[in-house]
Subunit: 403 residues, 4 copies
């Protein structure tokens, strides 16, 4: 059987997560690394027909002036996160992929992200619709040049400032009209990429807490175009822990009085989140699940702070104060020391594989079987990690029946 060719288009293509995912995919193709961290490589997903490493072609958008090789070496030298010898073995492939990476858009990304962009891009003026058209030209060219059978667009760019969802047009028609009016349009870049992708019928995945395709009007567009999308905010570390531990307290009827989580890290994401506008988007996403799992709202506190020395090593300290039998207060503390990009990258690859398969099997609109990957899963209220994983397995069972 002729092998299919599937395009992966990364928004924020030279950021830490994208760089790690790209190095990882190259390493997987070459057999240089193992399955660690890849959910889609678990035995229960073995015979679903998920795309093979060799079927992927990589491109993307980026706003900074750098190279994948330089960014990979930051993860080696600054963060001691990746083994430098592995990066050396991927050097020539990284250079080739650089050629597939085009200028992104800075529309409504806020001043901090804007400050990271290269000069020429910062000076560009486009209407939202212009930006969408330019994005679509890039996507079409990528598909054509590489003879792709399908394309998955994955947003792994920096977190944008919060947008108040309620101020947006509720229908696609209204929203579409605003795209020609830069002053009226409140949508951020992540949504423009989403619209560009869905209009072409491709799949859009949002691994960040940015708005992306969450607005009702964009969901309508996806249905109309029979395109798939999902989001948002990849669940990689502290929030993963919350979604595994909070159900334990609930199921033992132990009342959580307060749950405090302090996060420190020092990569570029940290730099962007150091802007209060952008931080708000993230902290909200990290905090919301507890009330949903418990059915009551404990005191919560979530901080995310930039500490340069930490590099990519995101360290979280959580302090959980709960009431035991006879009202006696007890305490659980944990410290999670994980490499941010290395935790995210395999999930990015998993979501691309699962999303592509869902699309291949005719699914349309918001994909809700993949909530276990997200801090704030769109289209579902389930936040118990065990239950979320049950749903993924149930989805796989259904696919398997079809295969």
């Amino acid at each position: 059987m002729a092998r299919s060719r599937i395009g992966i288009w990364l928004i924020g293509a030279k950021g830490g997560v994208a760089t790690t995912a790209i190095v990882g995919l190259i390493a997987l193709k070459k057999g240089l690394t193992d399955n660690h961290g890849l959910v889609s490589q678990l035995p229960q997903f073995a015979d679903l027909g998920l795309a093979d490493w060799k079927e992927f072609v990589i491109g993307g958008h980026e706003i900074r002036d750098t190279t994948l090789y330089a960014e990979a070496n930051k993860l080696v030298e600054v963060s001691r996160a990746i083994d430098g010898r592995l990066v050396e073995k991927c050097k020539s492939e990284l250079k080739k992929i650089d050629a597939n990476i085009k200028d992104g858009t800075l529309f409504n990304v806020g001043k901090t992200i804007n400050g990271l962009a290269h000069d020429k891009l910062r000076k560009k003026t486009e209407t939202p619709r212009d930006a969408i058209k330019r994005i679509q030209r890039d996507l079409r060219a990528f598909v054509k040049d590489n003879k792709l059978t399908d394309l998955v667009v994955m947003n792994v760019s920096s977190t944008e400032p919060t947008v108040d969802d309620s101020t947006l047009p509720q229908t696609w028609d209204e929203m579409n009209k605003q795209l020609d009016k830069p002053r009226k349009c409140l949508l951020p870049a992540s949504s423009l990429y989403g619209i560009a992708t869905l209009e072409l019928g491709y799949t859009y995945l949002n691994f960040t807490p940015s708005l992306g395709t969450a607005p009702k009007a964009i969901c309508e567009l996806a249905e109309k175009k029979k395109a798939c999308h999902m989001g948002h905010d990849g669940k990689t570390g502290e929030t993963l822990m919350k979604s595994a531990l909070a159900p334990m307290f609930a199921k033992r009827n132990l009342e959580v009085m307060s749950w405090v989580g302090h996060n420190i890290f020092g990569n570029m994401d940290a730099q962007v989140l150091d802007d209060p506008d952008n931080k708000k988007t993230k902290a909200t996403s990290k905090d919301r699940l507890l009330g949903q799992i418990f059915g009551y709202q404990p005191e919560t506190l979530v901080t995310i702070e930039k500490i340069d020395s930490m590099g990519d090593w995101k360290t979280a300290w959580d302090h959980i104060h709960f009431k035991g039998f006879l009202g006696t207060p007890m305490t659980l503390q944990f410290t999670w020391q994980g490499c941010d990009s290395l935790l995210a990258a395999p999930l990015v690859i998993d979501l691309i594989r699962f999303g592509e398969l869902a699309h291949r099997h005719g699914e349309v609109g918001l994909l809700t079987s993949f909530s276990c990957f997200f801090k704030s899963p769109l289209g579902t209220e389930e936040n118990d990690f065990g239950k979320q994983f049950d749903e993924l397995e149930a989805w796989a069972d259904k696919i398997r029946e079809k295969v």
Copy 2:
């Protein structure tokens, strides 16, 4: 409707767990405390017809010379675990229950537990069968004097030395014969209590890692007598955490290289576990689930050490070393600071309520729907806490259908 009267018979009736459960039941009857820590009080178990606090009558066996009030005050003063004002309000009830507590048996409990017993009891010589008969006389009198409709025997006594299961008779007939031969019989006290209970058709629950009714021959007896039993080793703290967290690593394909758990505490349980013979029984029970959940055996280390100053506050530090994407090692650490007796006591009450209800609905033999309560659940290999809880809810659904 005439209210039923259900007997609770506690083995180790004046130990920390029993004392706390008794204080708790009195406080619940009097409306002095809340539902914290009581699984059976969760909404999903609300309309099953579980026995009410007011239906319970308490008695038990003990080997030491002390009073419930004195033991409760240790938890107030030494451990700062219970509020002293609550104990004062339960004082007269505690005294009454003291009168229902009889001398237990020391058969094969090992030298450390033996050393805790009062002199007269230590000097007593009985065959296993004599001990069983004496226990049964106590149980029958308790049932008769209190006009009980059913009786649940719950073992919350100190952990006994390990018994090699493979050396025991495989059938009830053979085992029964050995009960007259003290030298040949390797069964410890926990099993004698179990046999005594099951022969009378009552329910036997084992909250400790001691042998209890685990042997095949005793399971045969339970079936024969249409009695219920379950075990073993209540899952209260560090192991509960393991059964909630290990599935998270498994479901994220993160290879756990090593899982180290150090436990320190200072109550009487700690004193008994300070004897290597007894400690072995416990450490094995705490360690086994990881291999079952992962499907491979990581390096593990579990210590349980007596530190007198800690009293009832069991503190566990766990260090989990796992491999992320591209083989990068990462770390999770947690510190659990819980009150041992206060974590165990509500589960003891839950198990009694669930066990009684199962018996009332005609279940027989090993009850396997309650694995979420146990470190080493008998009759099932499921150790994922989420899945175990699903089974409890499924059982409740079945009961609800009948009601």
Copy 3:
């Protein structure tokens, strides 16, 4: 020899620290408690002639409408910090001391502290000089009524908003004139208490980070009146740890890249520090010593957050990221779980005893031998806890020579 009678006058006399110090002094007088936490009871200070518990008479200023007994019970019930039976034994003495506690001043304390005061006090309008005169009347009456030989005023009230020291008059004459001009005078209450005390020749100690007697002009007043004073900000927990650990890193030439400290607690102090104006005063005080000890400034982050469920239990998590040999990054984390009021109270008693003794021996002005008690010791740059303690011992040696 006739015993002397020494007055202790507490500003914030019914706050957590004062209440604990008062309960403690009563318990010490009655022989109900031990020396735990009392530096002045160490053997090296045994024969200096420090005042005995029995010599102390207690009074103070307060702005809230409450009683010492009620406040002590909060520490028993809400925080589980003090044993309730001890408070019961001190009940009658607590009531007597209530009668010695007068209305304080709210001058420039900021809106959050103002919000805690009782209505009548909030409505009072006084010039700073009026307030000082009123305070002095209270102090004189206390001295006279109780036939006191000396008086020590100790500020343990809530942290005030930050005052920019450079905007204040540099001489006592200028400052004195401003005291009649409420609009011009930027001094907060803590400084008015200080001026009131020093003008009378008594000793003023500042256990808080509030301004107090730090301004140059007030130091001039102290010298003029031959009065003693010291400050500021008692070093009780996380900062104590910093001053013990930072020198270790310095002496091992281990470069600290970043030092992050997160503090959570829930008492009234937390409530006041939840106001950013007040928090700034505290965070600055907690953060400054690292640069002084290291000789370079690492990245630092200090948060202090209100979590109601914690009550008086202040929990700090510190993450220290340092560079070892060959530049390899390493990590130290600590979690400090201490009772805020119980850590502060014995130091308050120690400082009163040491301060009174210094005054008795003729010392004048800023006392600088007691830096080991303070986060931001006035009049010295030494922040290495070991060296600070050496200075205390050296002072004791000098006193001993005189005795």
Copy 4:
């Protein structure tokens, strides 16, 4: 001025600590690394005339069959402790030093260390005196071949089983006689190296808890030969923390009720300490200082456990349970995550520099000014790290006066 040439002779020359020290010295000579972790590079020791990196010539004894380059790569690949690019730059120097490393002795090292040695060495039979003579031939040849002006022998080999000091001869004459009687002589290899060194008048430093030159009879030999020695057991991580923190509790009159320390790591040292005979030597050394600092003995527990996945990363969790004011129990926990070899290596270099300088200035016998480097400093009872460092600075002041 003609530069002097100083020999460094490492016992255990290809172990983790020695390998790291050697890589470090090469890197320092070449200007490839910074001063991190080197006490002797602190400003207060700047003008003492300490030997320069370029003056050192390196040799040693080893019992295993390996190369320095292979061992350095283990620290790169298995432990991710050293940057691989640094090792590459030191490769040719490492090969040259390999040629200076000779076969050590296995006399009384115990079965676990014996098991690590290469076959030929294991089969060798020598009397203790034969071994000493052979060692001395190696040392003399090294000195002669390299035209050395002085030699410092540093023991960084694996921890030997405990020797009962009281069973050893009390005078050098008696001990010397035993050296010809292999069956009678209880001295381990570390002592034979010590005797060999001191008899030649060179300096012997013991960075391990092994017996070395601690026995009274060997101290006598050192005096007689005007040779210097010191020990023992380098204070690198958890015990360093103890010696910095315990004085803090003492100086605050906070009674430490219990101090629990759990250590996990996975390097070759861990492998040797996994033998209970060898572990005992280490645990005793880690535990003793608390009683000395406090003046009373708290409950203590120290474990050192081998967890292979940790490699050279020694992680310690310490739980300190202390009594605050009014007897309220409080807790401090810390987690120390350090690279064992990287913490030890700079101290090894420091001690060699300080030891050589002391010898150059005519000091003789046990050097006691360097206690800050040792867990169990010989010849002094001071264990407060701050005070120990004061002694080092005082020594430097005396040297400076002479210079």
